[in-house]
Every structure is written in structure tokens, then in C-alpha cells.
């Protein structure tokens, strides 16, 4: 080969090498400059873990003999996951038959009949032991995914109060819903270099590890044994009547502490998806305003007494009805012996609407008619002092309710006449019971609460989550007078031997008509029965307030049935809480 030919080939080779170098340089330029971010992302994807650290959801406790006991817990469960394009059908069938038959949530034939399906959850809520057995079996291409399940070991107990946690890990209804942020805690963040098995390594400059903040373990003021006993009594009572719903509230009137809150029918929060009537999720005590009827006479009477305008011995003429704004408002009780001059104590005993209307008239300074002053004063007591139609501040989902304005709207006098016996307004049971507590505890309004504190390191840390308004809204004299009248209301229960000697037990009933087509149903085909009362040793301030509400779709439930439940509950409370009788 000639020298020139060799040189020519070397030149060609040189150009080829140069061209190749140029291509490489251009490609490197693209990779390192133009596509830099994409390649960094791809590299990160391969050796970087970026995940949120899930905090542990706080547990919920109730009190039992002075000690917190868990009633809502967490449990790690597993899902069995497959990729149908990779997992052999016979393998997963064997796993299902051998380990998770009871937890299977899909039909495998259907799963494998779908084209291009890459992800299928075969079984849910698989316990740890089963998951370990599956892992030990060494079956290929089957994955176990950890999940957190909320466990309610007490089943249906206080379900309306507790609520539940849904599949997204979010609390719904009850304490789970209202205290969701507190229970959920705060997520953490982990961003770190990892090896091929996704084991986090400490090498690298951009590692981030923000620890998760676990949710707080909330201790409720509810007494577990008392709650169970009350739910059993309520269930037994409604089984003996045509009612199909009942709500019961027990609280300490002297500090607003709620001790029991029962809603029936209940449901099992462990299986909340099986509920067919979503209304059972709703806490009827805090979230549903209603008309408690004659229970409100306590508030109208308290207002007039507190203003120094009447006592239990004040008399008025009862003709069995009143005409207000052209409407005839009648008493439910029409016995002939009640016509004529009666004391206000008798009016409360017989629950006469004319008596509470008379209290409203007295508030206006004119015993013969209802006027603006009377309406405004009643509004002041109902809304501003006793905080009816306002949220109480309890740590639960609450409805506000409403109290009509004293100077707006049509038929204001008749509206306010109705309000004296608990109609034409909307208030919740918790508002009613809290206001009633102020009426009988010496006149002090205490904000109700259901959270006693937190459970940390095996200890109860008492820390109220509400600010107690602690407002003296009525005088002690008014409260004393009301207690005496309410105890008098139950004098016949004492004579009948229902109320035991040595105890001061007072109460007031309320039977509410329901509204149909914009007006009260005078046929009384459907009624809501309520009863509110207090229990304590004779000669002392009441220790407990009990409120009962019973109703049923299309059923006429009067307050007598609610009172029967109150009778059982008050005696149960005396026994369960070992309330000693007072000196007569």
C-alpha cells in the first residue's frame, strides 16, 4: 500500500473519530445542560426515597372507676395485593384458600378476565399472623401492604358520640370527626438516598427527615359503665313502647361535665359501611335542634322569678286557653278542677301553657297582655343568658338552633307565647340540659365538655379543651325556688315509691307536636316525648342532670313514656354511682 493511501485512510479514520467525538459532545451537552433536570429526576427516582411518615392516630379513652380505659384503638392490618400480569393465578388461589379466605374482597376469575390490569387488592383487613404466614410461604409476586385499622372494642357503645374513621383515615361524625385534627397528628417527611431495596441510607447531601407528630390520646369524661347501663335501659324502654329512637344525656350540672351521651339506634363503628340509615351517624344530642316543648317552661318561669315578678305562690286565672294574635292556645291538661285561680307552682306541676304565657306577660309588666318588653326580656333570658339557640362550645359537632327575634316577623306575640312552652324555636338537647343545669345549680352557666384530658405515658393529664364561661345568669334564690317547684313536680312519683326517700329528685316533662305542612299537627298523630330532671342527696345541690328524648316516625310518644325512662335512669344512677341519701 502506498504511503499516500495510508495517510488518506488515517485521515478518514481521524474524521470518523472526530465526528464520533462531536456526536458524543453534543449528546453530553444535551444530557448535562438541556435535559439536566429530567436526568436528575430519573436518577433520584432510582436511588431516592420520598415518602410521608404517617403519624399514629390518637386513641380514645373513657373513664371507668376513675381510670381511663381504651375504647378506640389502632391495629396494623394488611392487604394482599397482586399484579395479574405477573402473579400466577394458581399461586394467589392457593394463598386465598390457605390463609385469607375470610378476608377476600374480589372474585379472582373477574380479576384475571380484565386485560392490562396491573393492580388488584385481593384481601383486606388481614391480621398480622396471617400476613406472616403468607410471607413465610414464599409465594412469588404477592405483596402485603400495611394499613391502619381503627378498632372499636366496645362495639356499638356510644357510637353516636364516637363517630368512626373512614377508609381515607379521616374521622367522621362524633368525636372522631370533631377532634379529627387533634387525633390525626401531623405527617412527617422522609427524603433520603436509598439502595436498590429501598433501605434509607444516610449518605447524600439532600436528605430530609421530619418526624411525624402522633395524634393525641383523648380521654373523654364519659363513664364507660354508666354509658353501657344507660344504653341498656334506653334500649329496654323503647322496646316496650312504639318509639324507635331515644337519646339520653347525663351531665354534672355543677361543672358541665358530660358523663353519658347515648343515641339509639346505634351502630357498630367497626362495620360502619353496613349502616343503611345514615341518620344513625348523627349525634341527636348536639347536632339536631328540636322543640323540647314544656321543658322550656322552666326557662320562662326562671326569667319571671329572676326579675322578681313572681314566685311559686303567685296566682293567675286559668281559663284553659289564651287567645294571642287571633290564635287559640290551649292547655293540654283540661281537667275541670284546674279552671280558676291557680298558683304558678300548680301551673308548672300540671304543665299549663296558660301559666307560662302568664310568666311572659309578667315579664312585660302587664299581666293582661304580651308586649314588646316581655318579648325582649324573654329573648334576653333564652338567648343571651341561658344561651339557647347558640352553640355551647362543647368539643363536638354542634347545631346552633334558633330563637326568633323579639321584634321581627309576623305574629310575634303568638310566637313568643309558644316559646314559653317550647314551640316555635329550635334548640339542641345539649343546649337545653346546660341551660337547665344553670336553673337548678344555683344559677351558674357552665360550658359543657366531654374531653377530660389526654392520656400520655400511662397517665391521665387533665386538660379541659373548653373555656368555662362560669356565668351567674340567675340568682341563687331563683334557682332554689325552681328546684323546690321541680321537686314538687315529682311529688306523686315519690308517693308512688318510684323516687326513694333521702334523695332530691325533680323534673319536668315535655311533649312536642310535630310540624306538618308548615303547621303544628293538632291530630297528635306524631309526638316527641322529652323529660329533664335532676338527682342528688336531699338537702344538697343536685349532682346529676338527666335528659331523655324519645320519638318514632309516625308514632305518638308522650312525655309520660320519657318520664318512665327517667325514673329507671335516676334510680340506676343512684345505685351505680352510689349516691348516698341526704339528711331529710
Amino acid at each position: 500500500m502506498s504511503q499516500s493511501k495510508i495517510l488518506s485512510r488515517i485521515n478518514i479514520l481521524k474524521y470518523i473519530v472526530l465526528a464520533a467525538l462531536e456526536i458524543i459532545i453534543v449528546r453530553l451537552f444535551f444530557i448535562q445542560i438541556i435535559e439536566h433536570a429530567d436526568w436528575v429526576a430519573k436518577a433520584d427516582e432510582q436511588h431516592t426515597i420520598l415518602e410521608t411518615i404517617t403519624p399514629k392516630r390518637g386513641e380514645i379513652y373513657m373513664m371507668d372507676k376513675g381510670e381511663p380505659v381504651p375504647i378506640v384503638l389502632n391495629q396494623t392490618m394488611y392487604q394482599v395485593v397482586i399484579d395479574p400480569t405477573v402473579t400466577r393465578k394458581e399461586d394467589i388461589e392457593k394463598v386465598v384458600n390457605d390463609y385469607v379466605k375470610d378476608y377476600t374482597v374480589v372474585n379472582l376469575d373477574e380479576v384475571y378476565s380484565q386485560e392490562n390490569l396491573r393492580y388488584a387488592i385481593v384481601a383486606k383487613d388481614v391480621p398480622r399472623e396471617k400476613a406472616e404466614e403468607i410471607a413465610d410461604s414464599g409465594t412469588p409476586a404477592i405483596w402485603l401492604k400495611k394499613t391502619n385499622r381503627r378498632v372499636y372494642p366496645e362495639g356499638e357503645l356510644a357510637s353516636g358520640l364516637l363517630g368512626f374513621m373512614n377508609n381515607d383515615g379521616v374521622g367522621q361524625y362524633g368525636v372522631e370527626g370533631s377532634l379529627n385534627d387533634m387525633l390525626a397528628g401531623k405527617e412527617g417527611l422522609l427524603k433520603t438516598t436509598a439502595d436498590i431495596n429501598k433501605v434509607a441510607l444516610s449518605i447524600g447531601n439532600d436528605n430530609v427527615r421530619v418526624q411525624a407528630e402522633d395524634g393525641k390520646n383523648v380521654v373523654l369524661s364519659i363513664d364507660r359503665g354508666l354509658e353501657r347501663g344507660i344504653e341498656e335501659i334506653a334500649a329496654a324502654t323503647i322496646n316496650e313502647t312504639t318509639a324507635d329512637h331515644a337519646s339520653v344525656l347525663v351531665m354534672n350540672p355543677n361543672n358541665g361535665e358530660v358523663l353519658a351521651m347515648a343515641n339509639l339506634p346505634s351502630y357498630d363503628p367497626n362495620n360502619y359501611t353496613e349502616v343503611t340509615d345514615a341518620s344513625v351517624y348523627v349525634n341527636q344530642i348536639t347536632d339536631v335542634p328540636y322543640e323540647p316543648a314544656s321543658i322550656c317552661k322552666n326557662f320562662a318561669f326562671s326569667a319571671a322569678i329572676n326579675e322578681g315578678l313572681m314566685t311559686g305562690d303567685t296566682t293567675y286565672f286559668n281559663q284553659g286557653y289564651e287567645i294571642v294574635d287571633g290564635w287559640k292556645i290551649e292547655n293540654a291538661e283540661q281537667r275541670s278542677i284546674l279552671y280558676g285561680t291557680l298558683t304558678m307552682r300548680d301551673a308548672l306541676y300540671w304543665s299549663l301553657n296558660t301559666g307560662s304565657i302568664y310568666a311572659l306577660k309578667l315579664l312585660g309588666g302587664d299581666p293582661n297582655s304580651i308586649n314588646q318588653t316581655g318579648r325582649e326580656k324573654l329573648y334576653d333570658y333564652y338567648h343571651n343568658k341561658l344561651r339557647l339557640g347558640q352553640i355551647t362550645g362543647i368539643e363536638l359537632i354542634e347545631a346552633e338552633g334558633y330563637i326568633p327575634d323579639p321584634n321581627e316577623g309576623w305574629g310575634r306575640d303568638s310566637t313568643y307565647a309558644n316559646m314559653t312552652f317550647g314551640q316555635n324555636l329550635g334548640i339542641t338537647m345539649i343546649q337545653t340540659a346546660t341551660a337547665f343545669s344553670a336553673v337548678i345549680n344555683g344559677g351558674v352557666y357552665h360550658t359543657p365538655y366531654v374531653v377530660k384530658g389526654f392520656y400520655e405515658n400511662g397517665e391521665l393529664i387533665e386538660e379541659k379543651q373548653v373555656e368555662d364561661v362560669n356565668d351567674q345568669v340567675l340568682s341563687e334564690e331563683t334557682s332554689t325556688m325552681m328546684r323546690e317547684m321541680l321537686i314538687n313536680n315529682r311529688s306523686y312519683r315519690k308517693r308512688a315509691g318510684v323516687d326513694r326517700d333521702g334523695y332530691a329528685i325533680g323534673g319536668k316533662s315535655g311533649t312536642a307536636q310535630v310540624v306538618r305542612d308548615g303547621a303544628y299537627d293538632d291530630t297528635m298523630s306524631e309526638l316527641v316525648g322529652s323529660y329533664i330532671g335532676f338527682v342528688g342527696p336531699e338537702g344538697e345541690l343536685p349532682k346529676y342532670v338527666i335528659m331523655v328524648k324519645m320519638w318514632g316516625e309516625g308514632q305518638s310518644i308522650d312525655s309520660g313514656q320519657a318520664m318512665t325512662m327517667f325514673d329507671s335512669l335516676s334510680n340506676y344512677l343512684i345505685d351505680y354511682l352510689k349516691i348516698k341519701p341526704g339528711a331529710a
Binding site: L73, Q75, R128, V151, P153, G155, A200, L201, S202, I203
Partner: protein
């Protein structure tokens, strides 16, 4: 190469009786460029090896940590299971349905002792 020079100290300059006395001074030997490259390379290599060794050691700790964390998670899961089981066994419904409860009689209050 050693360079030699003769010099007279100030003291000797002042000491006329020490004439013709020679002194020797050695100049500093400097490394050649190749030697410098070799030494720097060796040092870099040594530091590199130390870095890799430490990195490997740290990664070893990471694996240990990961194993311990897995164990903690596992133990916590077992603790949760036991807590749930305990709560179920001590629930009031379970207590009420127990054979012990079935054999019990309803208590009645007969009297209270005055304090």
C-alpha cells in the same frame, strides 16, 4: 548537587584571631515535579479510601438501623394487637357475657352507714 559557600559570621568578623576558618552551609533539597505528583496522588488515594471506608461503615450502620426500625415496627404492631385483644377481653360487653357475670346476683343497697 551540593553548593558550598564560605561566609564569615559577624562574630568571626569581629574576631580577627579566627581568620581563614571555613564554614559549610547546605541549601534545602527540593522535590522534583514527578515526585510531587506521585505524593499528591497517593494522598488523594489514601483520603479517597478513607472516605469510601467511612461511607461503607456509615452505610453498614444504616442497614443495622433499618433492621432495628423494622423490628420496632414489628414489635409495635404486636403491642397494638395485644392492646386490642386486652380491650376486647375487658370490654363491658365481654364482661357482662362472661360466665362469672352470669353466675352473679343483682346487688341491692340495704342501708348506708352514717359517717
Amino acid at each position: 548537587m551540593i553548593s558550598q559557600t564560605t561566609y564569615v559570621t559577624r562574630r568571626e568578623q569581629q574576631m580577627t584571631f579566627a581568620r581563614n576558618r571555613n564554614t559549610v552551609r547546605y541549601t534545602k533539597r527540593s522535590l522534583g515535579s514527578i515526585s510531587q505528583i506521585v505524593i499528591v496522588s497517593m494522598l488523594t488515594l489514601i483520603f479517597g479510601l478513607i472516605y469510601v471506608a467511612e461511607g461503607t461503615k456509615a452505610t453498614g450502620f444504616d442497614y443495622e438501623l433499618s433492621a432495628v426500625e423494622s423490628e420496632i415496627t414489628e414489635m409495635n404492631a404486636k403491642k397494638e394487637d395485644l392492646a386490642v385483644e386486652r380491650a376486647r377481653l375487658t370490654s363491658v360487653a365481654a364482661a357482662k357475657n362472661s360466665t362469672v357475670a352470669a353466675a352473679m346476683e343483682t346487688a341491692t343497697v340495704s342501708c348506708y352507714v352514717a359517717e
